[in-house]
Structure formats: C-alpha cells, structure tokens
Amino acid sequence: MQEKIITIIIDAQGKSTLDLEGFAGQSCEKVFDDFRGGDSLKVDRKKTSYYTGQQVQQEKSQH
C-alpha cells in the first residue's frame, strides 16, 4: 500500500502549495480541507491517482 504523504510549502509571500500523495477520493478532500485552514484557494487540481484510488476503493467495497 502506498504511503500517504502530505507536503506543504509555504513561501515568503504567504502562499502555500499542498501536495497529497497516496490519497484518494473523500479522504483526500478531508485532508486537503484540514490543512487548508480557511485559506483562499487559488488552484485546485486532482491527479490521476485521485480517481484511480477511488475506483479501487469502490471495486473493493463491491466484493
């Protein structure tokens, strides 16, 4: 199972980038919202594994 890693880079202008690895679907959104902490969102991009992981979870729940 892929390790779940959260990387946050805060720049000198007060902007942050938030990278989530190994998360999928709802858990990804929850962690993202946790760390966003009420900040205004400038870019919100879901990666392929976001959907892939979700599909895997759904397939597992059907068995």
Binding site: E3, K4, I5, I6, T7, I8, I9, I10, D11, A12, Q13, G14, K15, S16, T17, L18, D19, L20, E21, G22, F23, A24, C28, E29, V31, F32, D34, F35, R36, G37, G38, D39, S40, L41, K42, V43, D44, R45, K46, K47, S49, Y50, G53
Partner: protein
C-alpha cells in the same frame, strides 16, 4: 500524487497571528474590543485595531501597526502608508503570513495525529520557503 492545491494565507486565528508576531520579535498588545492606533498622519487617527504593535517597538516606523478583525472574521493590516515603503509593506506582511501558516499547519497536524517527517527551509530568489512534510499514522 492525488491532489495539488495552491492557497493564499488568510489571517483568521488570533493565537497564530500573535505567535507569528512574537516570533518576529515584537511586543504585542491584544485588545478584543479594539484600541486606537497612533499615526503619523492626523487624518488616520482614530483607526481601531485588535492586535497592535506600538511604533516604539517598530524600528523606523512612523506609526503603530495593527490588525483589525473584520465582520467576516479575517484580520486586515492597518499601517501608515509611509511605513509600507519603510519595511512594513507587502514583504513584511508575507513574512507574517508565512509564520502564521507554519504555526497553524503544525497545530492542525498535531491535532489530527499526522506525523511530522521533516521541516526544511529553502532559499529561493523570492525569499525563503518553509517545506513541511507529514505522514499519516497507520
């Protein structure tokens, strides 16, 4: 990677803002009901702020600097226009936001049980970046 986001720090939580300013070496006054700021320009007198750094603690400043809570819960910076060009402008506010965000992030991670794997300060042409990495407890 599952998701990528870019956010702009919004100053909402008093405790992290106070901690950030203290880390920058300032003496802070906190006034829940607001207090008047002293200013170089008489027309700016009468402005109220909730978190205040008096000018005697601000090297080279013409007036006090304050943060006032807005009806939507955000803090906004109140400073003399002159001071914006004397070291207390956008760059200074960016540093406040950076420290605020780091403190907020570490507190959120602690509360949610995420494990801090590393903290790194990276020098770039646009200033220092702070890189924090967390893992999820299994």
């Amino acid at each position: 990677m599952s998701k990528y986001g870019l956010t702009q720090t919004v100053l909402r939580e008093e405790k992290y803002l106070v901690e950030a300013l203290k880390e920058m070496g300032y003496e802070i006054e906190v006034h829940p009901e607001g207090t008047q700021l002293n200013s170089y320009y008489s027309e700016q007198e009468g402005k109220l702020a909730n978190i205040v750094i008096r000018r005697q603690h601000l090297r080279g400043a013409y007036g006090d600097i304050g943060f006032a809570r807005q009806p939507d819960g955000q803090f906004t910076l109140i400073a003399d226009e002159l001071d914006q060009y004397h070291g207390y402008g956008t760059k200074w506010l960016g540093r406040v936001q950076q420290l605020y965000k780091e403190k907020q992030t570490l507190a959120i991670a602690r509360a949610r049980g995420y494990i801090l794997k590393g903290r790194e300060v990276i020098n770039t042409s646009e200033g220092q970046q702070v890189r924090l990495q967390f893992a999820v407890r299994r």
